[in-house]
Amino acid sequence: MSGNDDTEKALKQWEEGTVSKTLTKFPEREPKFETISGVPVKRLYTPLDSGCQDYQRSLGFPGEFPFTRGVQTTMYRGRFWTMRQYSGYGTARETNRRFRFLLEQGQTGLSVAFDLPTQVGYDSDHPMAQGEVGKVGVAINSIADMEVLFDSIPLDKVSTSMTINAPAAVLLAMYIAVAEKQGVQMDKLRGTIQNDILKEYVARGTYIYPPKSSMRLITDTFKFCSEKMPLWNTISISGYHIREAGSTAAQELAFTLANGIAYVEAAVKAGLDIDSFASRLSFFFGSHSDFFEEIAKFRAARRLWAKIMKERFKAKDDESCKMRFHTQTAGCTLTAQQPDNNVVRVTLQALQAVLGGTQSLHTNSRDEALSLPTEQSVQIALRTQQIIAHETGVGDTIDPIAGSYYVESLTDETERRAEEYIQKIDLMGGAIAAIEAGFMQREIQDSAYEYQKRVDARKRIVVGVNMFTEKEDREFDYLRVNPDLEKEQVVQLKRLREKRDHGLWKEAMRSLRVAAQGEVNLMPFIISAVKAFATVGEICGVLRQVWGEYKAPDIM
């Protein structure tokens, strides 16, 4: 191509002439530049670098394969992303109040944070729950709590995302049952269960059962929802926690997609047709601090997943190839020092997510390196999204960053690096084998340690932490979870156990145990159990007895 030849020649002239002359007088800040993930960054990108060479194949059009430019045809011109703040603390009543506050403030979807006992399948009165009840999320023991949680919130109008994994099927069953009481049938329900156990083993830690049984529970939900809940996202395959644990952008992308491949394989093996469930898979990424690298990552993620679905799994329906994802700004980039600065970090990271074409977004609150966020901090975080949506105009045209020589080149590079990892994981026997061998965990840990050393050596600047520091009087308005809530919750639970129909409960629990020992779909049994007022701890307890518990490999 003569155009390229000309550009190549001119570029060389520029480097050897203008640039080298300048460098002798004004050297650059660093001998070499790289992204936060360690990808080399050149001085200048030109048409010679970009992946735009084959526009149709690598970029295409929004709403069409390979979806690099977005999964929806009109993107934010049609509708803005869903503004969905992850929240929950204390009892169901308090969280219900926070939900209603957020909806009044213009939030467009709900996102439930559960406390740790709920997340690992213990009731509030379990010995391991001591001190943890209602701390990092809301305590939900039974359908009675769930009813309070969604009191006066019409479940046919809002969509609800639930960050729940090992007991995801149980909380979904409770949601279905509560909606039914509101008069809303399950085929009308919109929302997501995270349901992504593999990243729990890798990075987040709230696993219960060993992989085989966990995967069965997940494919059971896929199957159940594919038949009865056409609008429900059956999983949110998450890179966010992998990134928070310290991975690079390419590792986040690779490990998430490798886990995604494992879920699809499991479902296909269980007899599901790819196109019957794949369109309800959703994803979740972090938005870290390297501006362009993150935008590139989101775009690369869509393209890579589309290719995997079409080439590896032979999906026929383009819907199966669309990667829809949620984004959260990176909690690990928030600083406890000068916490108001976090508002600026969150703004930039939120903008990246929007420029990357996210379907929904959580913006962190400035005080989250210190405690749970106050109402005021959450409001600022939500307003940040509203300002980006309504004031900046970034949503008025689709994928506005496309065609940037740098971003296109970085999109290609991130995809290439992720593919390399996925190949390696394939050779190891897939994601589950790689996790059991501790491969992903070790890679992440190495990156995390490397990053911390760079921050400590001030090779990576964190404003207010290792540069521009100041002596601070930490006067901050913390959100405090009332420690008496734990006692209150335990009393309520005891009352529920006394009040419920014991015969009905016992029969539901017995059936569940038998079902778990066999191979039938567990969802109907779990729904019957929650309707009989069985608790999260009781249901997960039965499954613990039948399936045993996961033991993490020692990777230190």
């Binding site: 391991m128 943890e132 701390k135 990092v136 600083t335 210190l370």
Partner: protein, 133 residues
């Protein structure tokens, strides 16, 4: 001159908290600083932590917690150490622990609390200066 006796540290995750990035990074830094480090893994009760500390004859316990359950779990560790006559073990903590809670924890025998943004070398230096070998 290095001490003939190596400092032995137990890095532990009390409670149900799954955030172990900090614990693992600190464990590696202590190891690179020449200490012997045992990491408990997740979901440890105070009882399990104290038992491991005594079994491994450690000089230091580092407790990492981001779940907000520190006031319930950390004093329990020092209490149990006291019961076992192992008060000489240096107990330090890190994670998301609000400043207001630090004096209370110190009163219960947590020697120091390291918050977000702490340099790894600060922790290494602190241990070297305060450990009883």
């Amino acid at each position: 001159m290095s001490s003939p006796k190596r400092i032995r540290v137990l890095v532990a995750k009390p409670g149900l908290d799954g955030h172990d990035r900090g614990a693992k990074v600190v464990a590696r830094a202590l190891r690179d600083a020449g200490m012997e480090v045992v990491y408990t893994g997740l979901r440890q009760t105070p009882e399990m932590i104290v038992e491991a500390a005594i079994q491994e004859s450690v000089h230091v316990i580092g407790l990492s917690i981001l779940s907000g359950a520190h006031n319930a779990l950390l004093p329990r560790v020092t209490e149990l150490l006291h019961k076992e006559g192992a008060d000489d073990i240096l107990v330090i903590a890190g994670g998301i622990i609000p400043e207001d809670d630090v004096p209370g924890l110190k009163k219960h025998g947590i020697a120091e609390v390291f918050g977000p943004g702490t340099r790894l070398s600060e922790i290494v230096d602190y241990i070297k200066a305060h450990v009883k070998l």
